[in-house]
């Protein structure tokens, strides 16, 4: 049961991180003109943060299974 609870807590923390990443004010920081790898900064940020979030989900979901 402990392993399950630990996993659950990690996922909840990850969700909170996601809420933080995809909201005002962090979002506003990237709402500027300019490009990153040829992509406007805001779009680049959203997709990179999204991919990073999924990568963490892989780590947590597959840990100890």
């Amino acid at each position: 049961m402990n392993r399950f609870e630990g996993k659950g807590q990690r996922f909840v923390a990850l969700c909170m991180l996601g809420v933080l990443l995809f909201n005002y004010p962090l979002l506003a920081l990237f709402n500027v003109s300019g490009v990153l790898f040829g992509v406007p900064v805001l779009y680049a940020y959203v997709f990179i943060a999204w991919a990073a979030l999924i990568a963490l989900m892989v780590l947590i979901a597959e840990s100890g299974s």
Partner: protein, 914 residues
């Protein structure tokens, strides 16, 4: 050239492939070799979330406000992070209670309430209609556009069609027929549709590939990669501002946040998502992979949305092409016939996937939770006596599917044209979000009640109707638009789009705020005011504590009444046929260690519960309860009795905890007792040894005293010299006796704490010198070399002088006793360190085995074997010495190895007042 017949033929061929896959998967499932029992298929089936809205609408939304399509997919990603906590619990509950739909879930939680099940069904059907109409609109529009190839048309501008040419109606009818053949071929007790899931997984692949194909074509075929598209867009003034699309804290960020929350709810509570994620789930472990695979899918299908949107805006700058159709019109404008056809098939698969799962989920709800409970209550129909209800159930479901699609078509005709795809979809999202408080509250909060859930749903749904559906109808011209502009009856405060004057928000955020306030407020408020019934109480506990229950039997604790096994058997047979019922009963009997039929199989609470759960799998919990209620006589449990049962269970847990603790304590105590016993045994042995030693010690001097006395008495002729010698021996032996007796007395005093301690400041150096002087004679007799190393000055200690002399005497006489008999040598060292004075007395005798280092300080302990060696003392000296040293706060110990002498040391703290 894309002729109409080619498109139609391709579409039907595609549907045929789907049907083939479904048929194959069903065959495999019947053979017990499921093809969908894989986390990958499960993840792909979850992607039914991406509908025609995603396929066409995301680009439309992106073309109008840049990032607005993203929260619809980021929200679910965030929600999925919580799935490990939330969905795992819902899965477990649903498996234990054989939940067949979302309505069934909510109704079961709140005391198997048929009323609640019906309400949820109504909300779900009405709420989902816009969403279904969206799919019809997308398919029919894409079909219209494709048939006009190579011209690019806007479907709304195509001349009004007759019914025969009304694509949307045909699409609705074809999809209805397809779904009916697909999903209602037979009745499954577990409500699993393995064929459907396999087909949906396939569709998810098709739509992803189609979208990626068109995305790659636009990004890398028409333009030169992502950078090129965005660079060209930045060159157009109108598009440049869309590259930093968010502005203003209150507006865009609030919309973004609400869309995120909305889609978090949607991924859980859309009936089709609940169907694939919960009902069709075969194994809880699939969640592990799906938790990240499904977000990966969503990420992948969104990567090309922005390039397509900007590509479309650049390609059709004058705005006469609907952005919702860019996915299709861009390949057409580039004369890519095959790609356009692939896109059409991709959109078709997105739409059909959604419609199939959604209508199957809704039809199950309509049948189990709306129609059946009513039919079963209508005594006129005598349904309770019908032999076989399978046909009736399937008929109701088929009718429901057709009806839902036709209603979807009706909505499309009434309101569909006025809105973009995304806006239509969001209205449905907001409707299903109303289920969130009742479901989430229901699985984490035992206090939620049926009445609370009922009022919460009614309030939330009411606000939804007023703030979202009503304006949609008004904008389409079915209601006067003055209602929107001036408010109903001219009351400005009640304007549906600015309720109570709340302005400055978009329509969806506005509706969500008010509906959630109403919903959560009513749910919590009413729940706190109305006390639950016994049934609710028990269901609440079964749901919230699902991880503490064991197996499906948990519900049986709460049942009391009388029933007969044949009645229950016949009941099951009416829904599953005789073979199905016999199988179910055989399973049950096997679990009890019996066979079916067996007269010993009693219709107890377990069996009744088992039958109800089986039945719930086919017709829902509320209906199953009515049906079972018709054949058994149940005694209603009062709320107090349910509480008692629950309390008993929780008390049992408490008791077992206490028992565990007690047994741990007992173990510890018994270990202590064992140790004490061992010590007592040892002490007892020592006492016996002591008695024999002391007796021996007493007897030896007594014997010699008596012997010499007798000689002196009987032989008066003994010479005077001899006589003197004898008397000397007698005197010495008497002395030995006295010493022994003194020591025993000393011991008794010290042990009982009655000893007198005369504490004075003492110089240990003097003590050593005095003792050495007193023993000088003895050393000389034994020819022992004594080496005393005493420093010039040493701090004084506060001790009893006589006792200290006793200690030194004891150590020295021991040293003499055990010294080497030929070259005896004793070394005495006095030193001072760390606030202590330390005395070492070292001999060069045979030494002490390390095993005995502690034992020598035990009372009555004799070094060596007491049976063979002649005892060298009373065995009390060291014990008493240590007691004395410790009394003054010091320590005494021995260091030695066998064969190389022993060093006895003691320390004493330097007197505080010195």
């Amino acid at each position: 050239m894309l002729h109409e017949t080619i498109i139609i033929f391709t579409s039907f061929a595609y549907l045929g492939i789907l049907f083939g896959i479904a048929y194959y998967a069903d065959q495999r499932a019947d053979a017990g070799r499921s093809v969908i029992a894989s986390p990958y298929i499960y993840s792909l089936s979850l992607a039914v979330y991406a509908t025609a809205w995603t396929f066409y609408g995301s680009v439309g939304r992106a073309a109008s406000d840049g990032v607005g399509f993203l929260p619809i997919y980021i929200g679910p990603t965030l929600m999925i992070a919580l799935w490990w906590v939330v969905l795992r619990k819902i899965l477990r509950i649903s498996k234990q209670n054989r939940i067949t739909s979302l309505a069934d879930f909510i109704a079961s939680r709140y005391g198997k309430s048929a009323l609640l099940a019906g309400l949820v069904t109504v909300i779900a059907v009405i709420g989902i209609l816009p969403y279904i109409s969206l799919q019809l609109k997308a398919v029919s529009n894409s079909f219209t556009i494709l048939t006009h190839y190579p011209d690019i048309v806007t479907p709304a501008n195509v001349a009004a069609q007759s019914i025969r040419q009304d694509n949307a109606l045909w699409v609705a009818l074809i999809l209805a027929a397809f779904t009916i053949v697909f999903g209602t071929r037979h009745l499954d007790a577990a409500e699993h549709h393995q064929g459907m899931v396999a087909a949906i997984a396939f569709e998810s692949l098709v739509k992803l590939l189609a979208f990626l194909a068109v995305g790659a074509f636009v990004t890398f075929g028409i333009y030169n990669g992502f950078g090129d598209v965005f660079a060209r867009a930045a060159a157009v003034p109108k598009l440049r501002e869309m590259l930093t699309p968010l502005d203003g804290v209150a507006g865009d960020y609030a919309t973004w946040a609400w869309l995120t929350i909305l889609s978090m709810m949607a991924i859980m509570f859309l009936p089709r998502q609940f169907q694939v994620a919960v009902i069709e789930n075969l194994d809880e472990k699939h969640l592990n992979k799906a938790i990240w695979l499904f977000p990966v899918y969503m990420l992948a299908i969104n990567v090309f949305v922005l390039p397509i949107a900007f590509g479309g805006l650049l390609r059709f700058p004058d705005g006469n092409v609907d952005a919702d159709t860019f996915v299709l019109t861009l390949p057409m404008a580039e004369k890519q016939e095959l790609l356009a056809l692939l896109v059409f098939i991709g959109g078709l698969s997105a739409a059909t996937g959604m419609v199939i799962v959604e209508t199957i989920a809704l039809s199950t709800m309509v049948c189990n939770d709306l129609v059946m409970p009513v039919l079963l209550r209508l005594r006129r129909l005598r349904l309770n006596e019908r032999r076989d209800l399978t046909g009736l159930l399937l008929g109701i479901r088929r009718g429901a599917i057709l009806l839902i699609l036709l209603l979807g078509y009706l909505y499309f005709r009434l309101a569909g044209e006025a809105y973009a795809l995304v806006s239509i979809g969001l209205i449905s999202f907001a409707a299903v979000a109303q289920f969130a408080p009742a479901v989430l509250g229901g699985i984490f909060w035992k206090g939620g009640t049926r009445t609370g859930a009922l009022w919460g749903l009614l309030a939330g749904f009411g606000v939804w109707l007023y703030t979202l559906l009503l304006p949609a109808l008004a904008r389409s011209g079915w209601l006067p638009t003055s209602m929107l502009e001036q408010g109903p009856f001219g009351i400005a405060l009640l304007k549906p789009l600015q309720l109570f004057g709340l302005a400055g928000l978009d329509q969806i955020s506005h509706a969500m705020i008010w509906s959630m306030i109403a919903n959560v407020g009513a749910y919590v408020g009413v729940s706190l005011c109305v006390s639950p019934s016994a049934e609710e109480h028990r269901q609440a506990s079964l749901f919230v504590d699902v991880f503490r229950q064991s197996g499906e039997g948990a519900g049986a604790r709460f049942w009391r009444g009388t029933a007969s096994a044949p009645d229950l058997y016949n009941l099951l047979a009416r829904f599953f046929g005789t073979s199905g019922a016999a199988g179910a009963f055989a399973d049950y009997a096997r679990g009890k260690g019996l066979t079916w039929p067996d007269p010993q199989l009693v219709a107890d609470a377990d069996l009744v519960h088992y039958v109800e759960v089986q039945l719930a799998g086919a017709i829902g919990a509320a209906s199953a309860r009515v049906m079972v209620g018709s054949v058994v006589k149940e005694e209603a449990l009062t709320i107090d009795e349910v509480r008692e049962i629950l309390d008993e269970a929780s008390q049992a847990v408490v008791y077992s905890h206490r028992l565990e603790q007690k047994s741990r304590e007992l173990e510890a105590t018994s270990a202590e007792l064992r140790a004490a016993n061992a010590r007592l045994t040892e002490l007892d042995r020592l006492k016996d040894d002591f008695v024999s030693t002391v007796t021996h010690e007493l007897r030896t001097p007594l014997t010699s005293i008596r012997a010499f006395t007798e000689i002196l008495l009987d032989a008066p002729e003994v010479e005077i010299e001899q006589r003197k010698k004898f008397l000397g021996i007698i005197g010495k032996e008497a002395e030995r006796l006295t010493r022994l007796i003194n020591q025993v007395l000393d011991l008794a005093k010290i042990e009982s704490g009655k000893a007198d301690w005369m504490e004075t400041r003492v110089d240990i150096k003097e003590v050593i010198r005095d003792t050495l002087a007193a023993m000088d004679q003895l050393f000389r007799e034994k020819r022992i070399e004594v080496d005393a190393r005493l420093p010039e000055r040493v701090s004084t200690v506060v001790v009893d002088l006589d006792r200290m002399i006793q200690v030194m005497l004891n150590l020295l006489s021991n040293a003499v006793k055990f010294c080497d008999s030929v070259n005896g040598k004793i070394e005495i060292v006095l030193a001072e360190s760390d606030g202590h004075v330390r005395v070492d007395v070292t001999d060069n005798g045979r030494g002490i085995d390390p095993r005995d280092h502690e034992a020598v300080f035990n009372k009555f302990h004799q070094v060596g074997d007491t049976l063979t060696d002649k005892p060298h003392g009373s065995g009390l000296g060291l014990y008493i010495s240590r007691q004395i040293v410790e009394h003054f706060g010091g320590k005494m110990w021995v260091e030695s190895r066998r064969g190389s002498g022993a060093r006895f040391s003691f320390t004493l703290p330097i007197g505080a007042g010195a």
